[in-house]
């Protein structure tokens, strides 16, 4: 499928794809798995930015997925272009740099552009991808400001392409199970959520420590998981926020972004959520206290194996490769409904951006801020 000029055209093309014979399906899709009706169609994904996450997670996933594959790469580093083209047998016509990226509009193999660049570059490449008529996946956080996030959502709507944010947890079995338990009130009404995510950041020169590139510190990078969790556990939107920056014990490293930050969200159903993120504490927890019990994930957000338990007993669920199930889930939705799953679309990313920015504003002002 190439350059759908509208969501309708995309749906028609996908509809056509489903009409392939079983033989073709079998031939084209050796790795098809139960549960995903790919109709023999595999969506082509172009990765923009070949850093660690693209290399070690997304490219690995795209070798395992049944309904999508690595169709193209976009990189500013010729040596990476060589390395990837050999490793993944990519033709020269499927290799772009940041200058000629816009010509990807003409590449029929590319259905989805996946932007895996530093946060401050997300907007530019999402807009360029949308203009090229491609669906867009964008890593989290989707932007470095609320206005940029709004512009990205608007641009994709205007272009008639889908925008998704790389929220992999929604496709992860433990996370899906606790969302189900909370939605069905199996442990009663949620009253309190504790969620912390932090790690000890390495190289002090990396872009994650520069505010103009990252938009902020650990809150933007990992605290966003905690904010997401607060929302998917409660199923509600927060109504107010307070926040506090932690002490800066290494001012030479944390001269530009926060070292740590704590925040508190109130939800309309009466739940309180306490969150914390840090670049100097290794911590990763989600704990939910409800009227009839509790549940816990720890590790809760990192790639690997998530572990969970609840007042009803340990959670025993399959361990999956997060990026594989995310990409399969997203492509399944695109192939079957033509739309991004609601829990990871651009609007969802925008909601988080508003909360992240409000946390920073609350921490800076010391005030309790309403959220609307």
């Amino acid at each position: 499928m190439s350059q759908p000029s509208s969501r309708r055209q995309f749906l028609q093309q996908v509809g056509g794809g489903i009409a392939v014979s079983l033989a073709a399906l079998s031939a084209n899709n050796k790795h098809a798995k139960p549960g995903y009706n790919t109709g023999g169609k595999k969506l082509g994904v172009a990765l923009v930015g070949l850093g660690s996450y693209a290399k070690n997670q997304l490219a690995v996933a795209l070798e395992k997925t049944s309904n999508c594959y690595l169709a193209a790469i976009v990189t500013g580093t010729p040596s990476k272009a060589d390395e990837w083209s050999k490793k993944y047998n990519l033709d020269k016509k499927n290799i772009y740099n940041y200058q000629n990226f816009d010509s990807i509009a003409d590449n029929k193999n590319v259905d989805i552009v996946y932007v895996v660049l530093p946060n401050s570059m997300h907007k530019e490449f999402v807009l360029r991808a949308a203009k090229a008529g491609k669906h867009v996946m964008c890593e989290k956080p989707m932007a470095t400001s609320v206005q940029d996030a709004i512009d990205m959502v608007s641009a994709c709507r205007a272009a008639g392409v889908q925008l998704g944010i790389g929220y992999r947890m929604h496709f992860e079995p433990f996370t899906k199970e606790i969302i189900r338990m909370c939605r069905q009130k199996e442990i009663g009404d949620v009253k309190f959520i504790q969620t912390n995510f932090g790690f000890t950041i390495g190289d002090p020169t990396q872009w994650r420590l520069k505010k103009d590139m990252a938009g902020g510190g650990p809150l933007m990078d990992v605290g966003i998981y905690c904010v997401q969790a607060a929302r998917y556990v409660t199923g509600e939107e927060p109504v107010s926020v307070t926040a506090q920056y932690g002490p800066v014990t290494e001012p030479s490293v944390f001269k530009d972004v926060e070292q740590s930050v704590s925040w508190q969200l109130e939800f309309p159903g009466g739940a309180t959520v306490n969150g914390f993120s840090s670049y100097r504490s290794n911590i990763e927890q989600l704990y939910v206290s409800a009227t009839k019990g509790w549940l816990q994930l720890s590790p809760a957000y990192s790639y690997g194996p998530i572990k969970g338990s609840s007042s009803k007993g340990p959670l025993q669920l399959p361990v999956v490769h997060h990026q594989t199930v995310m990409l399969e889930g997203i492509c399944d939705a695109l192939l079957t409904s033509g739309t991004m799953p609601a829990h990871c679309n651009g609007e969802e990313g925008l909601r988080d951006m508003k909360i992240l920015m409000a946390i920073y504003e609350a921490a800076a002002s010391g005030k309790k801020l309403p959220l609307v």
Copy 2:
């Protein structure tokens, strides 16, 4: 020992007690345990207030302790006086009411008065016990205001008696072990502590829900454990506090005290502590994130069994009866040094009172407050 007129006199009397013969020790102290050199002396404890904690915990402990015993009771309820005098074979001369309590000064069997009344009554009975020349144990929180706590410490100093607060965790093996691990930096430098303690309170008419009797809500009752933990894990005093009241979802129950409250403490070594206490969430956790590892207790504060683990593996320690080891530890200190252990004396209780009151002030004002 009766009515020591000074700490010196108390020490002399105790010193005399140690000189008893081995035969006397054996005869007097059937339950002597290794590690406690009681010298055959058993301190007599008078319980003031015969509510649930006195009945189900302290009286039970006083049947197990090797160096102290239930010598007297003070109650305003004649039926309780009858019940206890039969159960514990107490002579009438060892039974007091709140009116004739001061005559306990003349009771040679009573060495320690243990005040187990509603919080607002602590000050009166600590002062009266001190005036009667008895050492005093007081349940936590020690008072309902900082000034009352100062008055209590001052009164006991002036009377030459020891004042202790019922901080049982310091005598509990898991807690002692994590304090040791943190003091010896076995998991490196503490960067972040998460500590939550809440439960679903029952009877809506109880004194714990009345501000004039309790001084506050769950922060006073159970949040104090979290504040204590922050201090004993870091070994430092906090330098600033922010706090937030949680939403009131049951205004008919929580018309007088908070339903829940979150707070954040900063410590001079750079640790951030996030705490939460609630009368509507069942939660009990202490999690410490440090540069080289982590440790966790959960349950962390209730009567037992405490469970613990760390990045080095599970903590395997004896399960004890908290009130028994606390009373034995306190009486051992009194018998051997004549002083209350520093981690549970009146000054220690006063430090917590200042922090608790600052948390309320910070929650009410929305401001970050310095602590001195």
